[in-house]
């Protein structure tokens, strides 16, 4: 029973850990499928976490936090588009600029606003009668069923009691699939990532498609950041994204730029994080695996995949290449 309980706990943590990765990886999917390399997910998560926590603190409403977080992330995404699409800037450099700018601005402005070393105040505070954090959603009868063996663990512990954003993340996966593979916008977006010149000659504005793609990217990355600051921790602290944007990028590659497989990659990486958090290591086949190895496993796996040792990850063809009308 103990083993069962700890598995439930790990799976429960897996869902929590995977949520921001799923949002961010889907965000990256929209941008990369449109041909824009996105190493800027990290910065977009961070800026939305900061804006989300700040707005939630000032308004007292987590939903206002979500709105503000998404707006901030969209602004950064549009800056990303301005650099990479309008001015044909290098995608990698633009992404780095956004990450570094986000890291600096959130800390400097945060310190100016709240004078707490870059942190926002806690979003739940008795003294201020403030509760601006998302509330967990408890499923009907969850409490009643909690003590039922097996079912209680799965239903009450694993499935019930998460923040609404967790459920939204998993809903977003089929939704994004539908948008990318069943709508006109998705068709055009995927075409843009493969051959922008063909898209242009088909009478579609590459610029418009890529701006829109980054707009959606910004919205989704906003969910990831707000989840971290307004749901998971109820506070912003500098650099709280802690590499999640890069891990989401790894998951996107590991999932071969497809929604379902990307979600599975996020769950895998979330599970590894959960295992690493729970123990000082794991015993696998009688060997003690150091916790640092478990932590590094998502990156190692992605490198192994990129090396073509387990399947092949084929990126959109036009990714990373600014679209310039060539002189005939």
């Amino acid at each position: 029973m103990d083993a069962f309980n700890s598995i439930i706990l790990i799976l429960d943590a897996t869902l929590r850990n995977a949520t921001p990765l799923i949002f961010a990886a889907l965000a990256g999917m929209f941008s990369e499928r449109a041909g824009i390399v996105n190493i800027a997910l990290e910065g977009k998560i961070l800026i939305s976490a900061f804006a989300g926590a700040s707005a939630a603190y000032y308004t007292g409403s987590p939903w206002m936090g979500l709105l503000a977080g998404m707006m901030a992330s969209v602004m950064f995404a549009q800056l990303h588009a301005f650099a990479t699409v309008t001015h044909n800037g290098d995608h990698v450099v633009s992404g780095l600029a956004i990450n570094i700018l986000a890291a600096g601005l959130t800390a400097a402005v945060g310190n100016y606003w709240f004078s707490q070393g870059g942190n926002t105040p806690n979003l739940v505070s008795r003294a201020d009668e403030l509760n601006a954090r998302f509330e967990p959603i408890v499923f009907p009868f969850a409490e009643a069923l909690a003590d039922v063996p097996i079912i209680g663990g799965i239903y009450s512990e694993l499935l019930s009691g998460h923040y609404i954003l967790v459920y939204l993340a998993f809903l977003a996966v089929p939704l994004c699939w539908f948008v990318l593979f069943r709508t006109r916008f998705g068709l055009r977006l995927r075409a843009t990532g493969e051959n922008p010149q063909a898209v242009d000659t088909a009478g579609i504005s590459v610029t418009k498609v890529r701006y829109l793609a980054l707009l959606v990217c910004g919205l989704l990355a906003g969910f990831a950041g707000v989840y971290l600051a307004v749901a998971l921790t109820a506070q912003f602290s500098p650099n709280m994204s802690a590499g999640k944007g890069y891990m989401a990028l790894a998951a996107l590659i590991f999932g071969k730029w497809r929604p379902k497989t990307t979600m599975l990659a996020c769950l895998l990486f979330g599970a590894l994080q959960a295992i690493a958090d729970r123990s000082q290591g794991a015993i696998i086949l009688g060997f003690e695996v150091p916790v640092q190895l478990v932590e590094a496993l998502p990156y190692i796996l992605t490198v192994v995949l990129l090396g073509g040792f387990i399947g092949r990850a084929v990126a959109p063809k036009a990714i990373g290449k600014p679209y310039v009308k060539e002189r005939a």
Partner: protein, 525 residues
Amino acid sequence: MTAQTQSAAEYALELRGIDKHFGAVHANKNIDLKVEKGTIHGIVGENGAGKSTLMSIIYGFYEADQGDIAIDGRVLKIKDSKTAIASGIGMVHQHFMLIQNFTALENVVLGAESGELIDESLDKARAELNRLSEEFGLSVPLDQPVEELSVGFQQRIEILKALYRGARILILDEPTGVLTPQETEHLFKVLDSLKAQGTTVILITHKLREILAATDNVSVMRRGEMVAHVKTAETNQEDLAELMVGRKVLLQVDKGDSAPGDVKLSVHNLSMTDSAGVKRLDNVSLNVRAGEIVGIAGVSGNGQSELLETLAGITPVDSGSIDLNGHTLDARHPMNPSQVRKAGIGHIPEDRHRMGLINTFSAYEAFVLGYHRNHEYNGALTMKQAAIIADCKEKMERWDVRPQDPYLKTANFSGGNQQKLVIAREIEQNPDVLLIGQPTRGVDIGAIESIHKRILEMRDAGKAILLVSVELDEIRSLSDRILVMFDGTIVGEVPADKADERTLGLMMANIVPDEIKALQAEEPA
């Protein structure tokens, strides 16, 4: 007012005073053009004459600096491809504008969707495409990814794309470059049936034979200007060629008889499979002797490039063997390009921008590419810059490369001078065997003559030369023997005096005429 209505009736497309600059390059100079409704109108000109730029302006890909475009007599501002499509203009680009991992159906629908969701668009398109392909003989597999389809099919998809969008004016930019003569014939039949249905076709090419075969009217461009409009029935190849280049050209090069010596290059049963698993070379065997030019004819993409690159050591050999000037090159004895050079092989690559030159390098640096490890250019640690520059100056003078500035970036030389730079570099190293690919691609006519002369001089000096070109005229006028390639194999060999266009054309489509078969039966290779 009456003139306007009249032109509306007569002309599908009318250009008045179209002018376009790219920086300092004046690509289109005050172009006038009238295309009659329901005709096939050819536009000929050399590479770089400004044809593609002009068509891109009509299609809204570039905006003209000045001038008007009138469709059916109405002056329109075509600021992007969307407007062009809406005005009934369709274009089949030289390089197909297809999404390789989309199906034919998805490619056709892209940009012409009927609603927010694609399923209904696809269903609607499928019905319409079935009708169109039946009507015009354009059947294609609709549900296979385009990357799995042949070039001929891909071109049909491009035409279907335009027709699906309701194109009344169809522009085709160099449509036959990748087709066999027989596929070309089919294409022209399709164009005829389009014409019969009232579609206006504009055909851009630099192949005079096609113009004569397919068009009603023809306009000639030269150096950005429109120099003549004539009825096809009232002209001939020689006149058009003269208009195109601006003076009488000798289509035939004077060359003496060859005096072949020992075999310097021989290929035995060479095969090569590329990384995608496609067999690019299939059991190729050939010999080249000292003092002869062996030409390789074929539609581009039938293994000629792979053959040259394998011989040059760029692509490894899978099976079979090559004897390069006394050195064996096979799977067990691989050679890299510098070892091949050391064996006395020079290589003028097919595409100087992709291979022969490094655009950011100065001329003197480009002049040692491939020979940069030679001891005459190197000290213990450093390269001997002064010696390299002096060497470069000398060769530039000998080859009349202009401007004679060793420090100028290679990108800033004209196409002809860039090509001279590459040819000079390879020939000056005095190789025994020369591999030559497309020696005059993108080179102006004056330079072509001098390049051809140099190649013949090399032959007469006893070099063994293998020449690959998609220009049949070039192959026919330079080669002593001609091999034709199709789908990675050598279809057959034709002596230069028996190589007429029809024979070569058939062989390029893998059909060997009986008299050639008889010839080959006589003397086994």
